[in-house]
Symmetry: C2
């Protein structure tokens, strides 16, 4: 299959750089086609602004409206178009990054903001009082799979159910649910590497074995069972869970079957 690896680390000679090289080799050895968007190497423009469209600037920049216009009329800047083409080409998309301040690095956040155009990743499908667009399980990227590879210096216990940073699944929910499931991806469980400051050859080999297995299993790993917006479980347009669905539950986990 076709795999797009979107990678955000500034140093090729880093743990992240080694893991990226490992993943590319493993996937290619298995016969997959691989493209890498190495955002730092590409000097990816992180900041969404009026220059993201080649249209004549209006008197006032509106991020959504101007994105919609540029996407609909072929006026997007070239770097955005190329990334959208890669997303269309891919069967599976991997985002790989170090967890900085409990989210993705700014350069990757800016990739999401700029590539996820209105009409491409949001504002897709009918928006009315009975249907709130094609999103959360439907949309342009439906039928594709996505997975995170994340490194962090903290210990696994710091990200446990009662760990001080909050549970890793909750920290990643806005990305896995809000950025990946939203435009349609099926999201596989993340591959998280803790305590990166304690790395040696033995541990790197163990991590490679585990990551390699995950990459070998990409096509048949069960995705996180996020609920679908338009499958009858949510009130529309309030978009709250219907009373009969997960009664008494609230928070992020209520949106997982």
């Amino acid at each position: 299959m076709n795999v797009l690896l979107v990678y955000a680390h500034p140093e090729p000679q880093s743990l992240n750089g080694s893991l990226k090289d490992f993943s590319v080799q493993r996937l290619e050895a298995a016969g997959h086609e691989v493209q890498v968007s190495d955002l730092y190497a590409m000097q990816w423009k992180a900041t969404l602004d009026a220059a993201d469209s080649t249209a004549q600037p209006g008197d006032r920049f509106d991020p959504s409206r101007d994105s919609q216009h540029a996407f609909a009329h072929g006026l997007q800047s070239k770097d955005i178009e190329l990334e959208q083409e890669k997303l269309r080409w891919a069967d599976t998309v991997i985002l790989q990054f170090p967890l900085w301040w409990f989210s993705m690095p700014a350069i990757l956040k800016g990739w999401v903001e700029r590539v996820y155009a209105y009409g491409f990743a949001y504002g897709v499908g009918e928006h009315s009082d009975s249907r709130w667009g094609d999103r959360y399980g439907e949309g342009t990227l439906a039928g594709k799979r996505a997975m995170l590879i994340v490194t962090t210096g903290g210990w696994e216990s710091h990200y446990a159910a009662r760990g001080i940073n909050g549970p890793i699944d909750d920290i990643l929910f806005p990305i896995q649910h809000g950025i990946l499931h939203y435009p349609g991806f099926e999201v596989l469980p993340p591959f998280v590497i803790y305590r990166t400051g304690r790395m040696d050859e033995t541990r790197f080999t163990e991590i490679g074995d585990a990551l390699g297995q995950r990459l070998d299993d990409l096509a048949h790993t069960a995705p996180i069972p996020f609920r679908r917006q338009n499958a009858g479980e949510y009130e529309i347009p309030a978009l709250t869970l219907k009373p009969a669905i997960a009664p008494g539950q609230s928070g992020f986990s209520a949106h997982i079957k």
Copy 2:
């Protein structure tokens, strides 16, 4: 008091631009000193990289180690130093931004990543098996207050306890707890404006009244009672809540008294 407003929206003639102007006027009218870091207007460099230090580049860029070296030896790039000075000067810091893909805009995330140097916002205090640094309630910015002003196009119900996006308090937890409480801030409840696509003069006046009240009350609003790392409630170094603290609770909310 001294108020720093860190503001991230690309268009001055926007709701966010109007709210920023409103806040500055209200705070100055009350006798406060106000500084604004208007990140788009400053063309803030969003991407953390080796150029953030004036030191001779080593053979390999390490974000933490090189940040520590640059901070300790006065080798940080000037734009980072200036923002750190503003943070030291401020009694209260407000971050104002539109919620893009369930987090802050990349330009603001990059402000955090670059300004929050090792030795300034993390890596502060003793790190040992009995003390895990001055963080989560202690640190360089202890004694200061912080607050978010956030706009979103979604409805309030979409961000409710059972809303499809997840509860707004959980979406903002990695920012309020992980970015603000971490280096020491007391964090006030956020001011969130929903459904920004439906704005008229009446509603803007109502929002101004409510926001103005929050700004008038900055000094005596009760902060979110996040637990402090070093107050005896966490096991060290596992950094999980002790069994007697919030027994049976887990997730983000367990870290709020």
